[in-house]
């Protein structure tokens, strides 16, 4: 039995869709490095990457390729991967296909943190710290409220998360109205922004994604068992409540990291696991890693469109992900009905 599952899993991972996805990821990354508001030839791009790798003195277009575009692509990939993996994990833990990484009020908490930085007139260097604290705080409040005895029933968690999120959003709105000249900055944050991605940001986000995502990947087998229902999972010896708590914290860590460095980017975390489930099936040991690659690719692609469609102006990347992801999600919804 378990041998058969192992074989089918291996088959799922070496299937045609996987190869296509990896090809898409590679092509997207190359395009995203090659294209931008400033036209740079492929030869020059390669040269710039070479200079960067050698640690040579950078000048002219080298700076744009090595210090602006490459980290932007890397950060976009990490953020997309983090959102998609935590989206998949949230959907598993709540057994609800509508769950997304922002469900527990993570986005609202991060948004409030960011607004505080901007409203208090602090330097934007504080942004990640405040956004992260806000995100984690909202998760812990929601968890504390939802806890019933030793249990965390999914329905209560969702309700608590939504309401905590609404309350925090109300605070944010109030702060915004008090400092209307800064509204656009916070507004832009709520739409997501990769414009100032640099290597330091990539380095700082990496631990969140590795730790949070790593824990989720390690728990993917348990998440499969959880799909059988709480009762069955418990009777199979799974510590359901502790698992749920651990998954929520790990997924929130991923999400908060992503929000801190890229703002709130909608739909990647909701849509990607859906797409992956349709093509690769619902085995979380496959779904989570494939979602990471697919989510990363989707966000890099969205950001590429955001900064090239109207170049040298830019669109907010969250607008692009939502315009790509939203209609696709509605299409899925429509197909599932019939």
């Amino acid at each position: 039995m378990s041998a058969a599952i192992a074989v089918s899993r291996r088959l799922a991972l070496v299937s045609l869709p996987t190869l296509l996805l990896l090809a898409a990821a590679l092509v997207t990354a190359l395009l995203a490095i090659g294209l931008g508001s400033v036209p740079i030839s492929p030869a020059e791009t390669l040269q710039a990457i070479g200079h960067g790798l050698n640690g040579a003195e950078l000048s002219g277009n080298d700076v744009i390729v090595w210090q602006l575009r490459l980290p932007r692509v890397a950060l976009g990939f990490l953020v997309g991967a983090a959102l998609a993996v935590s989206g998949g994990a949230f959907q598993a833990v709540f057994r609800n296909p509508l769950a997304d990484p922002y469900l527990m009020g993570v986005a609202s908490g991060a948004g409030l943190g960011a607004t505080l930085v901007i409203a208090l007139g602090l330097t934007t260097l504080w942004l990640p710290l405040f956004a992260l604290s806000g995100a984690l705080l909202s998760v812990f409040i929601a968890l504390a409220i939802a806890r019933e005895g030793g249990r965390l029933p999914p329905a209560r968690l969702i309700l608590a998360g939504v309401v905590v999120g609404s309350i925090l959003t109300a605070f944010t709105t109030y702060l915004l109205l008090q400092s209307e000249d800064r509204i656009r900055q916070v507004f832009a944050f709520t739409l997501g922004n990769l414009a100032f991605a640099g290597w330091p940001q990539v380095g700082r986000l990496l631990p969140y994604v590795l730790i949070g995502g790593g824990v989720l990947l390690l728990l993917s087998k348990a998440l499969n068992t959880l799909q059988l229902g709480d009762l069955t999972a418990r009777s199979l010896g799974l510590p359901v409540e502790r698992l749920r708590l651990l998954v929520i914290i790990a997924a929130s860590l991923c999400t908060a990291g992503a929000v801190s460095y890229a703002g709130i980017i909608g739909f990647v975390g909701l849509v990607t696991p859906h797409l992956v489930r349709r093509l690769w099936g619902a085995d979380y040991r496959v779904l989570l890693p494939v979602s990471a690659v697919a989510g990363g690719t989707l966000l890099v692609l969205s950001d590429l469109l955001a900064r090239t469609l109207t170049r040298p102006a830019e669109l907010p990347v969250g607008v692009v992900t939502t315009l790509l992801g939203g209609p696709f999600f509605l299409y899925l919804l429509r197909r599932q009905k019939t």
């Binding site: 508001s37 950078l58 700076v63 602006l68 980290p71 832009a188 991605a197 040298p312 830019e314």
Partner: protein, 285 residues
């Protein structure tokens, strides 16, 4: 000099007197009729408050929005909130003859319902600063003063322009209005002043007046001046330490100047002079 102009303006005033009822089309495209010269005015725009005062209408102001802070007299007036959080009751209690609003915010309906005449006068572009000054002059029966003010403003602007026009070198500049990043195109109000100050805006006009731009563009354009942010923030951005403005420490954060530049009103020449002194200090020794 100023006195002479105002004196002659005052004398001309009789000839320029507005005849009421006055009907005009405001910035929301509405036809507004004023039955008589307004004696009690509430202004919801700081730039309009400044203009009203500069043309001799300060005494008619009975209330202003919370951001109106110039000239000093204005700060003593009752505050009536702002365009987005107006205190309608406070406005009504002041029994104004007219309320001057922006085209933004939805003040028309509630104030009209309260039986108050509302007019939207909303300078946005460089030239509108002058055309709206005339309109405000007409509204409060101070058209001659409005014309005199414009002549004075144009003269003060020309004084700066004459200097900067002949500048040996025109440095390139980037003006950031918020760090996401949004900037100003050359045809915007601030963009026009930047050009008049003897700088070359790195933003192409085709992007519009207030575009969100790619940081790549700024790095590529390598501006010699950066306005609207501080040096530390500019240094913290990936790749920006290669920009000449950052290398040479020509990243200018001047809150007072930014404030002046955000007021399309009578202090426009001062804003221009402030900008020009930063861009071309050698011309102002």
């Amino acid at each position: 000099m100023n006195k002479v102009i105002f004196l002659s303006a005052a004398l001309l005033g009789a000839a320029h007197a507005t005849s009421y009822p006055l009907t005009l089309t405001d910035d929301l495209g509405r036809k507004v009729t004023l039955k008589a010269e307004p004696m009690r005015i509430v202004s919801f725009l700081p730039s309009d408050s400044e203009t009203l005062c500069a043309i001799g209408g300060c005494g008619k102001l009975v209330g202003v929005d919370e951001y109106s802070d110039f000239p000093a007299q204005v700060t003593k007036l009752p505050k009536v909130g702002n365009l987005y959080q107006p205190n309608i009751e406070a406005v009504v209690a002041l029994r104004p003859d007219i309320v001057i609003v922006s085209k933004y915010g939805d003040l028309i309906q509630p104030l009209t319902n309260a039986g108050i005449t509302v007019v939207a006068v909303n300078p946005e572009t460089y030239e509108e600063v002058f055309s709206k000054t005339i309109i405000l002059g007409k509204i409060i029966n101070r058209e001659a003063q409005a014309k005199a003010l414009i002549i004075q403003m144009r003269r003060d602007i020309a004084k700066v322009e004459i200097l900067t026009k002949n500048a040996a070198k025109k440095p390139t500049a980037y003006y950031e209005i918020d760090p996401t990043p949004y900037t100003v195109g050359p045809n915007s109000f601030i963009g026009v002043l930047l050009t008049k100050a003897g700088a070359i805006n790195i933003i192409p006009a085709s992007l519009g007046d207030f575009p969100k731009i790619s940081p790549e563009l700024v790095v590529k354009s390598a501006p010699q001046f950066i306005f609207g942010m501080n040096l530390a923030a500019a240094k913290a951005r990936p790749g920006w330490n290669t920009i000449p403005a950052v290398k040479l420490g020509r990243v200018v954060e001047d809150k007072a100047l930014d404030q002046l530049l955000s007021r399309p009103g009578p202090r426009l020449p001062q804003a221009l002079a402030g900008l020009a002194k930063v861009v071309h200090p050698e011309l102002f020794k």
